[in-house]
Amino acid sequence: MKLLIVDDSSVVRRAIERDLESGEITEVDQAATGEDAVRLYGAKLHDVITLDITMPGMDGLTCLDKIIAINPEARVLIISALRDKATAIDAIKRGASGFLCKPINPSELREAFELLIED
């Protein structure tokens, strides 16, 4: 299983990678910007993507639109500090499969990931 982690913070990217370490994941890519994420996804079509929203340049919701345009079945878990319901609902309407708020709770993250790959 290929995982793409998108966040402008390298500390967050590595924390997510450590939290999701398992035998199921065979390949992990990281992107610090939305632009890099779209490029990487277009090339590799990762099975699961974790995606931040507030990033320099292309924001996460625009990135989500572009990923969904490439593959409407993409499994995208938004992980964002933005704790308002409207943003979460908007992300789901635009095609995200789940929404988690920062700070990241490792057990909630693993649970969300498991649900995502069960689908």
Partner: protein, 148 residues
């Protein structure tokens, strides 16, 4: 921004530090207002705010506290780049979490990180500056709320 609005930031601070380790207590001292010089420590993550409010939310801390947090996150080796990344991410998390109370029109920027007193941000003059002192593992940090 009024005294009641500050509570959402206090809740966010508690949530952040408890997410690192629940058994380590974070002490949040009573917030105070400081209209002149701001208490910047060694590293400061600044989030510009626009939309529903204008100004900035800043998390400022010394290197020791930030190194301790990175250790809890299993980061090694620790360097200045990681410390700057972390202080920006904490500022992002605490300001983004405030949208739970203020809603989607509370627009936040990506973090700007400054060291020492060299603060690269123009704070609005017309706002009250709330300072929330935070003590975690004997180290002190501040969350500064400078919003109209």
């Amino acid at each position: 921004m009024n005294d009641q609005d500050i509570q959402v930031f206090i809740t966010g601070v508690r949530r952040y530090f408890e997410s690192l380790r629940k058994d380590l207590r974070v002490v949040i001292e009573p917030p105070f207002i400081k209209d002149e010089q701001k208490p910047f420590l060694e590293y400061t993550g600044i989030i510009g705010v626009s939309g529903k409010a204008h100004g900035a939310v800043c998390f400022t801390a010394n290197r020791v506290m930030l190194e301790n947090i990175l250790r809890f996150l299993n980061e090694a080796p620790i360097n200045g780049e990681l410390i700057c990344d972390l202080v920006g991410e904490i500022a992002n998390t605490l300001s983004g979490n405030a949208r739970e109370e203020f809603g989607r029109d509370f627009l936040i920027s990506v973090p700007v990180v400054s060291t020492g007193d060299h603060i690269r941000f123009q704070f609005p003059k017309e706002c009250r500056n709330y300072v929330i002192p935070i003590i975690w593992q004997t180290e002190k940090a501040y969350l500064l709320i400078c919003l109209t």
